[in-house]
Amino acid sequence: MNAAKTIVPAKRVAFPPNWPVRIALLALALYVIHASTILDITWARFVVGLDQGARFISRMWPPDLASDKLELLTSGMVASLQIAIIATVVGVLLALPLGLAAARNLAPLPLAWAARGLIALFRTFHPVIVAILFVKAVGFGALAGMLALIVASLGFLSKLVAEAVEEMSMQQVEAVRATGSPFLSLVIMGVLPQVMPRFIGFSAYQLDSNLRNSALVGLVGGGGIGAALFTAFQRFDYDFVLTIVLAIIAVVMVGEIVSGWMRRLFQ
């Protein structure tokens, strides 16, 4: 039986099919279709929605520029700016020590893990959810919004500080340590110069993001322009809603420019 002895060379496949990926993609596609049928997302529903949207937009125009409304807008906006700036400053000041404590190449491990746990806790919830918690805890108003944004800033900045510290050059730190420097002087002269440029960049970004989020926390009772926006919505003052939205857009854009300046100033 010669045929049995002929060795058939195995066919070489350049790109073998990756079955786990194929199955996962198929499952994802099926789930999306399934979920959208449950939620009644249909073309007909979309058309109805478009109609509603057109009416909404027509009621928004022109924006309401009555003087009493503008006063409301200004005071709300000023409050929001104050919330954002104070939250950023406090967050920046607290994030530095917390971030240093969380850096595993600097802090003793138990402290680093404790600090990391705290940071993870701060980062668990979206600022809006934190704001709802603070509104319940300390009552309506700017204080709740500010506390919520401090927590958000702290979570973001301290995590980035910790990462920047863990990536810095230990050679420079070692040299300062060899001078017999006390720990705090080591941080000031050996660690901070290395992480400061990035930290300032992050802080400027956080100011930017707090400006946007200060409107958001206002929606759930955290004071500022968000509160005015929420009231306007409830009273169907859609023309005033447009005024507020345009003002927020303007402030956020200006904020972006200012944070860009800040970055260049401190580099």
Binding site: E174, T179, G180, S185, I188
Partner: protein, 267 residues
């Protein structure tokens, strides 16, 4: 071999005994794999001692054990009436500030200015707030300028350290070490990252500036010629042990073969 038979009388300079006595020093980074095997070494309180030997033989570990950037596994290091191997916390920092160190990669804090790097040598002496606010005592600032003049960098004081060339950086490193007013200077491969001409200049600088102040120097060095030229004593290490100890003139090719192993490379 004539290993560890070389003894010189211990000397005192200015009333302070600057000699170093190492007894049975062991270091294992991983248990059961000693990098230093019961090293004992007496260094008198003046002159330059060069430690030569192949890479990975424990030279760097030996020098780093002395100022405790590396913690020895066992053994004693006696200096200024203390066992450095047992010191912790504040006592360790106070001991460290009397031991200057020069690094292979210079280890300057790149984002600090040259003069700030030199003043890092005072961190073991000045309180934290002075480091933070850069309010160093005027006598220290004056001395920092004098040291920069002494290493030929008087005009570079306010430049940032990352703008300097390798040779210039190492000069700053030497000034930083001298700024500590050390009773012992350690140099870990100070010339390995430099060109031959600059290497000679750096070795001259270390030898002269330490020599005129009566500071003993222990230098790890790959370059046998530089060791012969500048050192008063050569210690040869191989596989974590001292296999040669004597005057530069006494170092013969046979010793080099023992230290570095193999043959044929010494032509």
């Amino acid at each position: 071999m004539d290993a560890s038979t070389f003894r010189m009388p211990v000397t005192a300079v200015g009333g302070v005994d600057r000699s170093l006595v190492i007894r049975k020093l062991c270091k294992e980074y991983r248990a059961g794999e000693p990098v230093l095997k019961d090293v004992s070494l007496d260094v008198e309180g003046r002159g330059m001692t060069a430690v030569i030997g192949p890479s990975g033989t424990g030279k760097s570990t030996l020098v780093r054990c002395i100022n405790r950037l590396v913690d020895p596994t066992s053994g004693e290091i006696h200096f200024r009436g203390q066992d450095l191997a047992r010191l912790e916390g504040r006592a360790l920092r106070v001991a460290r500030r009397r031991i200057g160190m020069v690094f292979q990669e210079y280890n300057l804090v790149e984002r600090l200015s040259v003069i700030e790097n030199v003043l890092c040598g005072r961190l073991g002496y000045v309180p934290v707030w002075r480091a933070w606010l850069r309010k160093f005592p005027s006598a220290d600032v004056e001395r920092a300028f004098q040291l920069l003049d002494a290493v030929g960098l008087g005009d570079f004081a306010t430049q940032r350290a990352d703008q300097l060339s390798g040779g210039q950086r190492q000069r700053v490193g030497i000034a930083r070490a001298l700024m500590q007013e050390p009773d012992l200077m350690l140099a870990d491969e100070p010339t390995s990252s430099l060109d031959p001409k600059t290497s000679v200049e750096i070795m001259e600088l270390i030898a002269h500036r330490a020599g005129e102040r009566g500071i003993p120097v222990i230098v790890n060095i790959h370059n046998v010629e530089l060791a012969r030229r500048f050192a008063d004593r050569i210690v040869g290490m191989s596989k974590g042990e001292i296999v040669f100890d004597g005057a530069p003139q006494a170092l013969k090719d046979a010793h080099l073969l023992t230290i570095y192993g193999g043959e044929g490379w010494l032509e």
